[in-house]
């Protein structure tokens, strides 16, 4: 096509034609400058559409229409347990990342049986030498416990409000997987300081794995790095705790909440 300028689209002339204040001129000039390069008008239109959608008149909810809230308001706080699980998870993630700066997953350094290992020593170092380290470990540990408690109570809330029924079965199954992974998260973290109880908890884990027919030995090698506990066990638990589980659990939580978003919260009947 020919490249002659079309006068109608001369925005600058249009600007001059009008009687504008300095602020208005500056605003419009900036807007036009950005829009010519990034075409933001399209996005503004999208935002506008979303705004009007969100403010549409919505049908009354079941609870409102049948005036059921008077029986229900005192259950509402229980509906925040899912979000509280997420908050506790975030606190654990942040404090855990900071603990990770100082922790070393190694059983080296024990001259005789029962001597402290490098992993144990690094936790002692966190407790005694690192600024705020004692508090940090305490917060991490309690965040984990708050999360497990919140998840368990969230499951009870879903059960006793019948929120798992059609069409939410998939989210319930996903939840069962999530609570299992949350517990395993706690277990793998419990092993990391390599103290007496860590070791013997892991020992029970290995024995359970080995007692399973067919897949048992394979599982023991995959999760614990062998049939007896040692450096391999610690590193595997470490990688599970700080790499594999965070990714898996975070994505599953995102999926879980995404499904809730799509399906809506189950209305009490």
């Amino acid at each position: 096509m020919s490249l002659k300028k079309n006068d109608e689209m001369d925005h600058n002339a249009w600007l001059k034609r009008q009687d504008l204040t300095v602020i208005e001129t500056a605003f419009l000039t900036t807007l036009i400058w950005v829009d010519k390069r990034l075409r933001i008008v399209d996005y503004l239109e999208l935002l506008e559409t979303m705004y009007y959608r969100a403010n549409l008149q919505m049908p009354k909810s079941h609870t409102e229409q049948y005036d059921l809230d008077n029986k229900f308001w005192y259950w509402y706080p229980l509906y925040s347990l899912g979000s509280l699980s997420i908050i506790a998870y975030l606190v654990a993630a942040v404090s855990g990342a900071m603990l990770g700066f100082y922790y070393s997953p190694s059983t080296a350094g024990a001259a005789a049986q029962g001597d402290p290992t490098a992993a144990y020593d690094s936790v002692v170092m966190i407790l005694q030498d690192v600024q705020f380290g004692f508090m940090l470990r305490s917060i991490h540990s309690w965040a984990a416990q708050f999360m497990v408690a919140a998840v368990f109570l969230h499951m009870l809330r879903v059960y006793f409000t019948g929120a798992y029924k059609e069409p939410r079965e998939v989210n319930w199954i996903l939840g069962v997987v999530l609570i299992g992974l949350t517990l395993f998260f706690g277990f793998s973290g419990y092993v990391l300081p390599w103290k007496q109880l860590s070791f013997w908890a892991a020992q029970i884990g290995v024995e359970m794995a080995l007692a399973t027919p067919i897949v048992g030995e394979w599982a023991a090698q995959l999760l614990f790095g062998g049939f007896t506990l040692g450096q391999a066990t610690l590193v595997r638990m470490y990688i599970l705790h700080v790499f594999v589980l965070p990714f898996v659990v975070t994505s599953l939580i995102a999926l879980h909440v995404g499904i809730v978003w799509v399906q809506g919260i189950a209305e009490p009947h």
Binding site: K4, Y66, S138, G162
Partner: protein
């Protein structure tokens, strides 16, 4: 092919200023791309079924909307700002505040370094795994499952693993066993009873895990572990069943006032 004097796309006529390469040459407009309805007609097998189902589902949705007696309301809910935002901030900061407060008050214990050579007297996981640990201590039950002259059929640990499978499996099956639109515990006393049984069972199993702290006989503890939950379940069932009639009457009355039966 048309003549060479085809007007330019911007309506100009100056042949020297032509930059658009002239009118279309030999390539006919591409009508090979099927339209939406053509795709639907042409498709077969699974694709066709998918289209058909989508159409049905959309029609069903429209019908339901048309029939709906739902009353419109003016606003969807509280405004996101400031109501929801402040409420969420309040809940979040209270929760994190309590977390930090408790963390400061009760720092976790830190024990001795691992010693593969000496088994501690009490091995315990964190409290939230007590129930799982309790499932591993079901071995007093195991001899009762024995068939061949006193030999146990399953290893004690394997019994524990099966028990875990049963617990998770049973929880996962719930939505497929309990169907229907009832939501409240009073509407389904049986399932409320099952729920209470489960909760109490998780507590008694935890008690079984720390059996050393209980001064009575192991046999009694194992019996209580299973008896107590069932008892609590039955009580729940009885109470809710009794409440049910009056409660449902009240609920139904409110439904019928708004939507009288035809």
């Amino acid at each position: 092919m048309t003549d060479d004097n085809e007007p330019m796309t911007d309506g100009g006529t100056d042949e020297d200023a032509r930059t658009d390469g002239g009118p279309p040459a030999t390539v006919p407009p591409d009508d090979e791309t099927p339209t939406w309805s053509e795709r639907k007609e042409r498709s077969q097998g699974l694709a066709q079924l998918t289209y058909q189902y989508f159409e049905r589902s959309r029609r069903e949705d429209e019908d339901l909307r048309a029939e709906s007696t739902y009353v419109e309301r003016d606003v969807l809910g509280f405004p996101a700002w400031p109501h929801e935002t402040i409420r969420n901030l309040a809940i979040t900061s209270f929760f994190i505040g309590m977390l930090i407060f408790i963390a400061a008050l009760m720092p976790p214990h830190f024990g001795h370094p691992a010693n593969p050579g000496s088994t501690p007297a009490i091995i315990l996981p964190d409290w939230y795994l007590y129930w799982s640990f309790g499932l591993l201590k079901l071995n007093p039950l195991n001899p009762q499952l024995a068939v061949l002259d006193g030999n146990i059929l399953l290893g004690n640990e394997f019994l524990g693993i099966i028990a875990h499978g049963i617990v998770f499996g049973a929880i996962g099956l719930v939505p497929f066993l309990n169907k229907g639109s009832a939501r409240r515990p009073v509407e389904e006393p049986f399932w409320a009873g099952v729920g209470v049984t489960g909760v109490v069972l998780s507590l008694t199993l935890a008690a079984l895990a720390i059996q050393n702290f209980f001064p009575f006989e192991l046999d009694l503890l194992v019996t209580l572990t299973f008896l107590l939950p069932v008892l609590c379940g039955i009580i729940t069932y009885a109470v809710l069943k009794t409440m049910r009639e009056g409660y449902m009457y009240d609920l139904n009355r409110r439904y019928y006032m708004l939507r009288p039966p035809k």
